[in-house]
Amino acid sequence: MSERIAIVGVGQTYFKSRRPEVSELEMVNEAVMAALENAHLTIKDIDAVVVGNMELFEGDYQVDMWLAGGSGAYLKSGFKVQTGGSTGSSVCCTVFDLAATGEFKTILGIGFEKQDEGSSQASLRSIHEDVFFDVGSSGKSAATAVQSVALDMMHRKSITEEQVAIVRVKQAENAMRNPNAHLRRKLTVEEVMNSPKLAWPLRVFHMCPTSVGACAIIVAPESQVKKISNNPAWVADWTNIHGAIQPFYGSITPSTVSTPLGPMWAWSVEQAANRIYKRNGITNPRKELDVVEVYDMATWAEIEWWERIHLCERNDAHKLVEERATWLDGDIPVNPSGGVTSTNAIGASAMQRVAEVAIQVRGEGSERQVPNVKMGLAVTAGGDMYSAGVLIKKSL
């Protein structure tokens, strides 16, 4: 790597289900202003702006064009990247690459979604809808994919339904400590277990909400970091991986069914973590990492990711619940932010995982702060079978 890099600013809007009082541009601008304030910078200090969201969710083609008025991109470098659920982390990886060249002073990355303006359902459906494969494509892909993961976990005796509810309650407690989170309501195990079934054993309260909001990060190379911040979050390593073998084609959605390699989602998450561990000499993640943020589109997924990123042995997720290891005061807190089950503005979600780890490393988590964080990992996953792994450290 030519230059070592660090996150020197993080900004988020608060997240809600609807914000009819602001336009998409005004909302994005809120996150940008928050990030600049957090970094003690002005827009003049920014060299490049990279934007990411889902085109058809709001129906904006080349959305970075219109947003140039609020993102700060006017007369600056930049372009748009987009993958899927992992768009936010793809933006992060692009920003990290750009920063590591040393060609820029500071780079701003933005992920957002304003789902109250769009038709998320119809846009998601369009992944599968096909003129040639025109039957059997109206499935709710996210829910059924999680269902297949959930059934597998129950079958392996990795976790019980009650324990899943306990983990969901943990997430709610964390979200209540995060002023930006969308769902900030105390939940009880009974409430979760009695919430309506979506696709058994998956229940409504296990699933992520539909949120509106934006997240922004500011990244700088080492030569600039010293001038900007005495509390940078060093980005030690990052990787992006894609895991689809069978493509989506009309009704054929192999991410939802078992392939010889297991569910495809889980595969890419595991690979992303493995790459990071291998390249950084991490052999005991539970011991060596101080905090983890995962892309928990549902509580079941969070628990599956614990195993996949080796916070515990396969089939041992229940032990982490019994030991309360992943709680805020446990030995390996997962999603102190409340995670995706509390807040899900698609284009922002994966960036928030990275941003929240940076917040923890910088000690700016206020009520959700995990004590003494020296190293944290963010792992993302999208229904697009992209995953990213980002390792962030207090010092290099």
């Binding site: 009082e21 040639f132 039957v135 059997g136 054929i252 069914v257 010889p260």
Partner: protein
């Protein structure tokens, strides 16, 4: 004049309408032509890993090699198969523009077709509404539309129905 937040949040109702005329390309056209003209389901086979690819593709995603259009690389699958997964449609999605239901109300089946391997799973719909009738392992067979109604789409198969063997 100072700014006062307006009491109303105005909005623009926007409908995007994009017409598409798509070609299925070579491999999917072969697949659909076989369905339409012969009532047969074909797949192709990776020359390296011997995985069967359904629907057929020009490349094996796993080996990243071309599956050439040669007779030995084509495989005919049965229209019978075993259910691996069944998904009931509890609350049907309504199209925001037309107000009509999206898709069919029938449960969606994932069917491992005979003559294939663990990869050859076709998604299609079940004949009956009761999803519990299609547990994993259930045997099903395609019910084809009459020849003259077929258009070269997977809906040329009406649905899959349970069979006794």
């Amino acid at each position: 004049m100072n700014q006062k937040a307006p009491d109303e949040n105005l909005y623009v109702e926007q409908i995007i309408e994009l017409p598409f005329t798509e070609s299925a390309g070579k491999y999917i056209s072969i697949f659909l032509t076989k369905i339409r003209d012969e009532g047969k389901i074909v797949a192709n086979k990776c020359p390296v890993c011997h995985r069967i690819v359904l629907p057929p593709r020009i490349v094996c995603a796993y080996c990243k090699v071309e599956i050439e259009d040669k007779p030995e690389n084509w495989v005919e699958l049965s229209d019978k198969g075993t259910v691996t997964d069944c998904m009931g449609i509890d609350d049907r999605e309504v199209d925001a523009i037309t107000g009509e239901f999206v898709g069919t109300p029938n449960p969606i089946l994932f069917i491992r077709l005979d003559g294939g391997d663990e990869w050859t799973i076709l998604g299609h719909i079940a004949k009956e509404m009761d999803a519990s009738k299609y547990p994993p392992g259930a045997r099903v067979q395609a019910v084809w539309k009459p020849q003259k109604e077929r258009q070269g789409k997977t809906s040329d198969i009406q649905f899959f129905q349970l069979i006794k063997e």
